[in-house]
């Protein structure tokens, strides 16, 4: 199955996401991992808390992944986003894309994380 989407409180295991790809015909795997940045604009950050409209977030992320799969050479897309408390230095989001060629993988990975940030109903909230 070339698309996997998870929105959950569970820790993100990037190596497992990469290992799950079907590598048939794949020459490049691009991965983006977003981590809780500390310090941020000069201030210390202990954690962030994410809230999601989980059912819709999953549905939007599936749509975004399908759009990425429609691009030339793109074969596998896996997206995971955390909800709840995420400590500094820990991954809040990960996108893994497998494609025939390197620019296809890197460009599609950029597309998915950009669209996620624009469309997925997920919020950083106080607490």
């Amino acid at each position: 199955m070339p698309v996997r989407v998870v929105v959950s409180e569970a820790e993100i295991d990037v190596a497992a996401m990469q290992a799950e790809l079907d590598l048939t015909g794949i020459g490049g795997i691009a991965t983006f991992v977003g981590v809780v940045r500390d310090p941020d604009q000069g201030r210390s950050v202990s954690h962030l808390t994410y809230e999601a409209y989980a059912e819709m977030a999953i549905s939007e992320l599936r749509a975004i992944s399908a759009e990425a799969l429609g691009r030339e050479g793109v074969r596998e897309v896996s997206v995971q986003h955390r909800t709840g408390r995420v400590d500094r230095g820990v991954a809040s989001v990960a996108v893994v894309v497998g494609a025939a060629h390197r620019h296809q993988a890197l460009d599609a990975c950029t597309y998915v994380i950009d669209e996620l940030k624009g469309r997925a109903p997920i919020w950083k909230v106080a607490g």
């Binding site: 994410y50 986003h81 940030k117 919020w123």
Partner: protein, 89 residues
């Protein structure tokens, strides 16, 4: 005859302003617009009305327009500006 009812989900700043995460809105008529549901919601939670310019309506988990029609049993949400992903602008 009872009026049709839709579930309205409120997240993040919308939830905080309304003080609740889920509510029900009774429609003036079957096939009322998203806009009409918003107005009914704002009569109960007037503190939400200033948010209309920033929220995007979603019906049954897909973004829709303000003039789209709502049916009894639908799930409606007014999505405040999203901020998922890594903490980048």
């Amino acid at each position: 005859m009872s009026h049709p009812v839709v579930r309205v989900l409120l997240f993040a700043t919308m939830r905080q302003l309304a003080g609740c995460a889920v509510t029900e809105v009774e429609l003036p008529l079957e096939g009322a617009s998203v806009q009409q549901c918003w107005e009914v919601l704002c009569r109960r939670h007037p503190q939400l009305s200033s948010q209309q310019a920033t929220v995007r309506p979603a019906l049954n988990r897909s973004y829709v327009g303000w003039q789209d029609a709502v049916s009894a049993g639908d799930e409606l949400a007014f999505i405040p500006p999203v901020s998922g992903g890594s903490p980048c602008p």
